[in-house]
């Protein structure tokens, strides 16, 4: 028995070393191959740029170029994604349309079926860029069968990029699972939806009761995109029991602009959460709401520095009237937080 243990120990040690070193040796070889491939990808990107130049100048493109692209679809796809970050949309469209004419949508479709997740994501991205009926069909099919929440959002993003719009309802149902976190890619996706199809998001806020996390992300997306139609739905959320929801809502309202009836927003100056009070001060300052100075002045004496500072900077936006209020506050009892804050903000403004 002891001898067996001894043998086992030696076998373990040897196996570990041999295993690690073999893998590394393999890696060095793969690295060599990768160096060659990245050179190839750069060459393909240059060829794509040449193709663009041909298309812009009206010169018929060299057919051999398309053969190069066909031979290496993965690196062509990667080069195409790189190109999307280098040239503007209209010029990129010229190249994409031409590639579609040459049937590249069909060639790239295979990438979506790869076993390697990274290749699948590249496939989704490039099909989204290409657009067109076939790419959209493939993406829609991938969307319908996708199970992984992160990839589902990536597919939705690609579909959107291609000009088709996935139905938000089923998407949301499939990614909001109890106990699991929302995929990170959802935030940029919702931002794009808010810009292109805001009604879908406003509808979700009005008609459905999204999970709290999702609700916050929708509110933030609508705020960033400054969707005025979202205002009524947002105002309703000002009375949410969740602090984070109220903070996001006030910030969104600040970005969009205040509603005609400011009473609900002004009431947020008395919110128990300092974060909400600070955001409200910002919102009132940005919208230059006429009744705001009267509500902002008490916030100058708030216990929280952030609230005081943001109330003071909001007052500055009201011009001479606001500065007068700050002046008066700065002449208050020495050492009081409100006095100090007003004095400091005025001094900074003067410099």
């Amino acid at each position: 028995m002891p001898d067996r243990l001894l043998v086992l120990l030696w076998i373990t040690a040897t196996t570990l070393i041999v295993f690690a070193l073999t893998l590394l040796l393999l890696l060095i070889l793969v690295r060599w191959a990768h160096a060659l491939l990245s050179r190839r990808r750069r060459a393909l990107r240059d060829e794509l740029l040449d193709l663009l130049q041909d298309l812009l100048s009206g010169t018929p493109p060299v057919q051999a170029r398309f053969d190069h692209f066909r031979r290496d679809r993965l690196h062509t796809a990667m080069a195409l994604i790189d190109l999307a970050g280098l040239v503007d949309g209209k010029e990129l469209r010229l190249v994409l349309d031409r590639l579609n004419e040459e049937g590249f949508d069909r060639r790239f479709a295979g990438l979506v079926k790869s076993r390697d997740r990274r290749i699948r994501l590249i496939g989704l991205d490039v099909l989204g860029l290409l657009g067109g009926p076939f790419a959209t069909h493939i993406l829609q099919r991938a969307f319908d069968h996708q199970r992984h929440p992160g990839e589902l959002v990536a597919t939705a993003q690609a579909l959107q990029l291609s000009g088709a719009y996935p139905d938000l309802g089923p998407l949301v149902d499939r990614i909001t699972r109890p106990g699991s976190q929302l995929p990170g890619a959802l935030t940029p996706f919702l931002a794009t939806v808010a810009r292109r199809r805001p009604a879908a998001l406003v509808g979700m806020l009005e008609d459905k009761q999204p999970a709290p996390d999702l609700e916050i992300r929708i509110i933030q997306a609508l705020g960033r995109a400054r969707i005025e139609a979202a205002r009524p739905a947002l105002v309703k959320r000002l009375s949410s029991p969740r602090t984070q929801t109220r903070v996001a809502t006030v910030a969104a309202i600040a970005a969009i602009g205040c509603p005609a009836d400011t009473a609900t927003l002004l009431a947020c100056c008395q919110d128990p959460s300092p974060e909400v009070r600070a955001e409200t001060a910002d919102a009132l300052g940005r919208a230059v709401v006429a009744e705001a100075p009267g509500h902002l002045t008490p916030l100058l004496h708030d216990l929280n520095w952030d609230v005081r500072f943001r109330a003071a900077t909001a007052l500055l936006r009201f011009g001479p009237a606001g500065i007068r209020q700050l002046d008066a506050a700065a002449k208050g009892p020495g050492g009081a937080p409100g006095t100090r804050t007003a004095a400091m903000v005025l001094a900074e403004q003067a410099v």
């Binding site: 001894l6 120990l9 030696w10 373990t12 040690a13 040897t14 570990l16 070393i17 295993f19 690690a20 070193l21 893998l23 590394l24 890696l27 060095i28 690295r31 060599w32 990768h34 160096a35 990667m78 994604i81 790189d82 999307a84 970050g85 280098l86 997740r117 990274r118 994501l121 991205d125 992160g150 976190q181 929302l182 995929p183 990170g184 890619a185 959802l186 935030t187 940029p188 931002a191 996390d213 916050i216 992300r217 933030q220 960033r224 984070q244 996001a248 974060e275 520095w305 952030d306 005081r308 500072f309 003071a312 937080p337 804050t341 400091m344 903000v345 001094a347 900074e348 410099v351």
Partner: protein, 464 residues
């Protein structure tokens, strides 16, 4: 006597085995994490998706006697690719001409900025801005240490997210954009994000940017390159995935400012202020029952110069050890406390195992096992076999983390570099690992004696 020796030998072997097992588990978790959420290699893609969504960031760069590197470092920060950021350099009462070289290079002029002394710090002597660089703010203050300087920066900056970096480090151009991603993706939960620190010795730097990635020529720096690779890709990634990350390097970390202020900012009483802040954040969030995330993202890279002399390296390692011990002592009540979730049940016990018991057990093993062998308790065959397994685990973990790093992140462009790193990963187990443990034990001793302070760090500056 024989029974005591046997128990000791078994204990040493079991603890060593447990450490190795944990490292293998970390490796598996990291590999799974990287394959389920692969890093986005193309910066253009990150920029396209996130540029409109990212929050403003304040880069806090405390500087103490950094006259040789500060201008290059600030230039590199100002050249970062990010939509909204400000660079706050805090001159922590340098005795060299750090402020002077900054004033000359950026044509600084006095400014004023409304702020509250929410976090304690030493007196501020002056604030300076630069007409040509509206994003730059220089705070000149009395010396108070790194934590004190960071607290001053936290009080004065206004962005909702702060990025604490070392003044002698260089960020890659898209590091901020990549690092801020978790804050965009989960805005209500993420409170802190750590990035990867890589060794800049051997890299070619031009105008504050890494132009060519290369390996250090100095063997000590080369050994640290492998060590950093392992520490970041293995330990940090794995712990962040299981929600038990206890350390975000002080050289590069992003934090939600309000959360840091709420937690009480950086502690001025410890030399491990980076670890202490993370533990404090965990404590504050858990105490108020908040749902939060402390995350690690492998892609954003910060390059730093590592010591090339044994004395400086020893001093650094002893300080790290003291810092870790100060932190675990300060937060001892969290250890094995289920109320603090995985931090209490996994993160902190792991620090006890690796930072407290680890060096003692390993060195005890090197000393006692030969003694046991000499006294006949352990046969020579077993002694050699255990030694071989211990080294094999070390080599396997180092090389596998190198492999993981290369497969996922492709950081070293030349295959030759990989060969050198592989050899280093093997060689570090014969001498360097033992030396590092001696320094850690010395750090423990310093901690017990109550040694304070950072000790001098000599820097050569980046190779241009």
């Amino acid at each position: 006597m024989t029974i005591v020796a046997t128990v000791l030998a078994v204990a040493i072997i079991c603890l060593g085995g447990l450490q190795n097992l944990i490292q293998i588990l970390q490796l598996i978790i990291s590999a799974r994490a990287l394959s389920s959420d692969p890093p986005v290699r193309r910066a253009s893609l990150v920029w396209r998706r996130y540029a409109d969504l990212v929050p403003p960031v304040a880069l806090l760069s405390p500087a103490y006697n950094e006259a040789t590197t500060i201008v290059e470092s600030v230039r590199s920060l100002l050249a970062l690719k990010y939509p909204h950021f400000e660079v706050v350099v805090i001159n922590d009462g340098s005795s060299d001409d750090t402020l002077g070289v900054l004033a000359e290079a950026f044509d600084l002029h006095p400014v004023t900025r409304a702020h509250e002394l929410t976090l304690p710090h030493a007196d501020i002597r002056g604030l300076y801005g630069a007409a040509d660089h509206p994003r730059l703010l220089v705070i000149d203050k009395e010396n108070g240490g790194k934590a004190d300087a960071l607290n001053a920066g936290l009080n004065l900056c206004r962005a909702p997210v702060v990025c604490a970096i070392d003044a002698d480090s260089l960020l890659e151009r898209d590091s901020l954009m990549r690092g801020v991603r978790p804050f965009v993706e989960d805005p209500s939960r993420v409170v802190a994000v750590g990035g990867t620190i890589r060794v800049a010795n051997g890299c070619k730097v031009e105008h504050g940017r890494i132009r060519k990635i290369g390996l250090p020529r100095h063997p000590l720096a080369l050994l640290q390159t492998v060590e950093y690779l392992r520490a970041f890709l293995l330990a940090r990634l794995a712990w962040s995935r299981i929600g038990a990350l206890t350390l975000i390097s002080g050289a590069f970390g992003l934090f939600r400012r309000s959360a840091v202020i709420e937690a009480g900012g950086y502690s001025r009483e410890t030399v491990g202020e980076d670890m202490e802040l993370i533990l404090k954040l965990h404590r504050a969030m858990r105490d108020k029952g908040a749902d939060y995330i402390v995350s690690y993202v492998p892609e954003p890279v910060c390059w730093t110069e590592v010591p090339e002399s044994l004395t400086t390296l020893a001093r650094q390692r002893m300080r790290w050890q003291r810092g870790a011990l100060q932190c675990v002592r300060q937060h001892a009540d969290m250890t094995f406390n289920p109320g603090y979730g995985r931090i209490g049940t996994l993160g902190l016990p792991y620090i006890w195992l690796t930072d407290v018991a680890g060096p003692i057990v390993e060195l005890a093993g090197y000393i006692l096992l030969p003694v046991f062998w000499a006294s006949g308790v352990l046969s020579v065959d077993y002694f050699l076999a255990f030694l071989a397994v211990s080294f094999a685990f070390g080599v396997a973990v180092s090389t596998l983390s190198l492999l993981l790093s290369e497969v996922q992140l492709h950081r070293f462009p030349r295959p030759r570099d990989l060969a050198i790193l592989t050899a280093t990963a093997v060689l570090e187990n014969f001498g360097y690992r033992q030396l590092a443990n001696v320094w850690r034990l010395q750090g423990c001793w310093q901690f017990l004696r109550g040694t304070e302070g950072w000790g001098a760090m000599t820097r050569k500056g980046f190779r241009s």
